[in-house]
Amino acid sequence: MSGFIAGLCVAILPLLAAGFWLGRRTARPQNLGGLGTPVEHATFQTLHTASLAAPPLRAGLTEETARKSARRLRTLLGTDALCLTDQEQVLVWDGVGDHHRTEIMERLAGPLESGRGEAFRLTCDAPDCPVHWAVVAPLTVDDRVHGALVACAPRESAVLVRAAQEVARWVSVQLELADLDQSRTRLIEAEIKALRAQISPHFIFNSLAVIASFVRTDPERARELLLEFADFTRYSFRRHGDFTTLADELHAIDHYLALVRARFGDRLSVTLQIAPEVLPVALPFLCLQPLVENAVKHGLEGKTDKSHISITAQDAGAEALVVIEDDGAGMDPALLRRILAGEVSPSGGIGLSNVDDRLRQVYGDDYGLVIETAVGAGMKITARLPKYQPGVHSASRLTGG
């Protein structure tokens, strides 16, 4: 009997889940009944319709976004037909009177040029055509006309002209926001590109100097180091793809450390602890090497004795956990906070803040660097890398195997 009950419970679970889902889908805040006076009610309705029309437009003015928002906008204006155009063509026509498309585009040339709205009578052969007047309100972004909103009505109405202007202005604001989003994305892309070309010039000078010092005394070693240098720079100057794998990044770090070790000799020791499961994880290109470079710098800064760096990569369920730790000079947490906030520029090299920004950009704000440090207490940097993130694919083939 208890088994029957258990089975029943198991059978009911999916039903409950489906019900919950349906409930979530259907529960829309349309039910505002009983909220305030009729005027307030109407205000709420208007605001709600406007808020529904906004999200598609945030992606810019295209045929698809126009189609998604046009119906809401027509509800907002309460006209028989509404049409959104860009500079060349009608993007969407919502409502009656579809046959006026070409006529509208011909008449729009003036308003699109001048950026001023107007109302005009439509010429129509069809005797039962319900729309006779069109009100044109241009959509502008940064004073440039991107398109127009056209509301069609049976008769001329000053109210409609005014309302269309207001709605057009509101749509323009959404398009401006979309523009802003786009430029922000472009800025970050540019930043990543800038960051990529930016291996520290000091590192290049120092490496070449070290290699030069070996050329006479130990030509074989010099040759090896030169090859390491070539491998590392080839990786850093790689042009394709924004992402790499943890295995490739670790190999680049290996080349980097070989060069650093040639310079500092026994003063620097490194422990590496890697769970092989996380090696195929895709991550933004060159985002761990700067952390290691930072650890090397802090570890040897102001010290004459030995320094130790440990690099661990652990498997933590759906994430990989990378920890880079040094026992060097550490840093004042307050100063570090200001560096990460971009208020103070760090002293040369690729900054921690840049890696932090890129991780947040790719994986979301939950995935920023976690840094534990104090003056004289070393520094421990933890990065969490999700094993899967939509849009993150490593562009490289894994080496080794």
Binding site: I5, H240, L272, P276, L279
Partner: protein, 574 residues
């Protein structure tokens, strides 16, 4: 069975698992090791890990038990469990790896760019994971009961506690090494005793009547009936009874039972003489939970066999703990090589359980009556070889059995907990993963106490059926059909997987006891898999406008080898 050796063996396996899990990382301190430490997992190691995680209680104990009770028909189980990887190799392995997805919900999101489908896939991962965990815990309970006489629930609780503790404490840091270790442990634990058993069988004159004729007792044997059952006798039989037979109490009396069906109550002790035929036990009519799926198999053997074949062939690709291991392969080609190696490793392993089944029919035939057929593997060494050697071999088998519970249970718990943390519980973080782990284990543990009695291999078969009806269409169509749409995928998973899930729940609840409907519900794969495919195709065609943008690019990424992609990119740049 002597527990003096078995309990330390089990404890040793648990400790070894925890130690390998915690310290099995590659560590390097000098530069020259760097390359070794950051070397990716090779196909052979990864294949051993996949096999270790895959070979569960059903494989280790269940198959031998089924073969013992029902004969060679049950060899379809090991065949199906292995052949599932052939399907995986042909259709899924490399594209799945190239998709970059870590879990099945990740794959759904990568392919269909839909959060709703992702969540639905997550729900099915949790469902399949729980269904699969259930028999692991039951098997552990059974093993411990056979070894020490402990109550049935204790073994499940121990496994649950160990797994939750190690997984939640981050003790599975080097899971690949743990699982690979478990595979070789399990293989050894079955192979070594099997060699000795076969030698003993040879020394016994190699009796060959395992399957041709009904099993007989080879010596006088006392059988204790733990759950009430009906005995079907073809011929009259004389036994010594202490307990209740046909409603009448007896106390150590010799009783001649005429041919026909006799009801034996719980707790009855039957003593059979040497040479007696082993009567067939019918559990179908005792109205309880322990209705074996075998009943419907006897009625419709062909249907049941095809249902089983379809479920195991197509269900393997949807097992959440198997899919995540493929992520460890560095690229698509390595994923294929890994699968080939898995086929070899698993194929080798599955040669062994049938040996135990066949020998069990000779040497421990009373297990068909007591309903503890799953214990055949554990009991045989002590029964056939005996003495210290038998005890030691028995301890080895017991250790291997616990390795089976631990490896599969920890893999499943991690997979289920991952989905719970990522898609169900509100925010992310270490503490939430721990909460997810507890939740992932608590539900099947509670269910294993409520729902008892389903044979281990059958219960696993049900998990395969749900997986085959929900994830197989999603993966196969997702990888090979460009017109799949999010609504189509969601509908297909809901209809196919949902109907299989309801059928499983009804079967577990013991509804309806017999008849054609029971057969349909007990072996749902034969109708639910085509139903899932059909729904997915039809709904996708009906919502042709919803094909996600960028499908062509995604499919190209799934199917093009990594090097080729590199070259293409270079050409585009140039």
């Amino acid at each position: 069975m002597n527990s003096n050796y078995a309990v330390p063996a089990v404890a040793l396996v648990v400790v070894a698992t925890v130690l390998v899990g915690a310290f099995g990382l590659r560590i390097s301190r000098t530069t020259s090791d760097f390359y070794v430490a950051s070397r990716t997992v090779g196909p052979r190691l990864n294949a051993a890990a996949i096999s270790g995680e895959y070979l569960s209680a059903a494989s280790f104990l269940g198959i031998a038990g089924l073969v013992l009770v029902q004969g060679p028909d049950m060899l379809w189980y090991p065949v199906g469990y292995t052949a599932g990887y052939l399907v995986l190799l042909l259709f899924v392995a490399a594209p799945l790896r190239r998709s970059g997805a870590y879990t099945l919900p990740d794959f759904a999101e990568a392919r269909l760019a839909s959060q709703a489908v992702r969540r639905l896939a997550g729900a099915f991962v949790v469902g399949v994971g729980w269904l699969y965990l259930l028999p692991q815990l039951q098997g552990a309970g059974l093993t411990l009961t056979v070894l020490t006489g402990a109550p049935e629930w204790l073994g499940g609780v121990i496994v649950a506690a160990v797994v939750v503790a190690t997984v939640a404490a981050g003790g599975m840091r080097s899971i690949t090494f743990v699982q690979a270790f478990q595979y070789w442990l399990k293989l050894t634990a079955l192979l070594v005793p099997a060699l000795f058993l076969v030698l003993a069988w040879q020394g016994d004159g190699a009796p060959r009547r395992a399957f041709e004729e009904p099993a007989t007792f080879r010596e006088q044997r006392i059988v204790r009936v733990d759950a009430s059952l009906d005995l079907k006798l073809d011929a009259p039989l004389t036994v010594t009874v202490s307990g209740t037979v046909d409603g009448r109490p007896h106390d150590d009396q010799r009783l001649r039972l005429p041919a026909g069906t006799h009801r034996i109550e719980q707790g009855t002790r039957l003593t059979f003489a040497k040479g007696d035929r082993v009567p067939a036990a019918d559990r179908g009519s005792n109205g309880g939970m322990s209705t074996s799926l075998a009943a419907s198999r006897e009625e419709r053997p062909l249907y049941a066999t095809y249902g089983l074949i379809l479920a195991t062939f197509l269900g393997t690709m949807g097992l959440p703990h198997v899919v995540v291991r493929f992520y460890t392969s560095p690229h698509g080609v390595a994923a294929r090589r890994t699968t080939v190696a898995v086929l070899g490793l698993i194929g080798g392993f599955y040669l062994l359980p049938p040996v135990y089944g066949a020998l069990g029919r000779l040497y421990a035939p009373e297990l068909t009556i007591t309903g503890d057929a799953d214990a055949a593997v554990l009991l045989l060494p002590g029964r056939v070889i005996g003495g210290l050697g038998g005890d030691l071999l028995g301890a080895l088998v017991a250790g291997g059995a616990f390795a089976a519970f631990l490896s599969t249970a920890s893999g499943l718990t991690m997979a289920v907990a991952g989905v719970l943390t990522q898609d169900v519980l509100p925010t992310r973080g270490v503490r939430h993963f721990r909460l997810g782990t507890v939740l992932a284990m608590a539900v099947p543990l509670a269910a294993s106490m409520l729902v008892g009695g389903l044979p281990v291999a059958d219960a696993v078969g049900l998990a395969f059926a749900v997986s085959a009806s929900s994830f197989c269409p999603l993966l196969v169509l997702g990888i090979w059909w460009r017109r799949l749409t999010p609504p189509g995928a969601a509908a297909g998973m809901l209809v196919g997987g949902g109907s299989a899930f309801v059928a499983v729940a009804a079967t577990m609840a013991g509804f309806p006891g017999t008849g054609p409907l029971h057969a349909l519900l007990a072996w749902p794969a034969l109708w639910s898999v085509p139903l899932g495919f059909l729904t997915m195709v039809l709904v996708s065609l009906a919502t042709a406008g919803r094909v996600p943008a960028g499908t062509a690019a995604i499919l190209a990424r799934f199917h093009l080898p990594e090097e080729l992609r590199e070259e293409l990119r270079e050409e585009v740049k140039a």
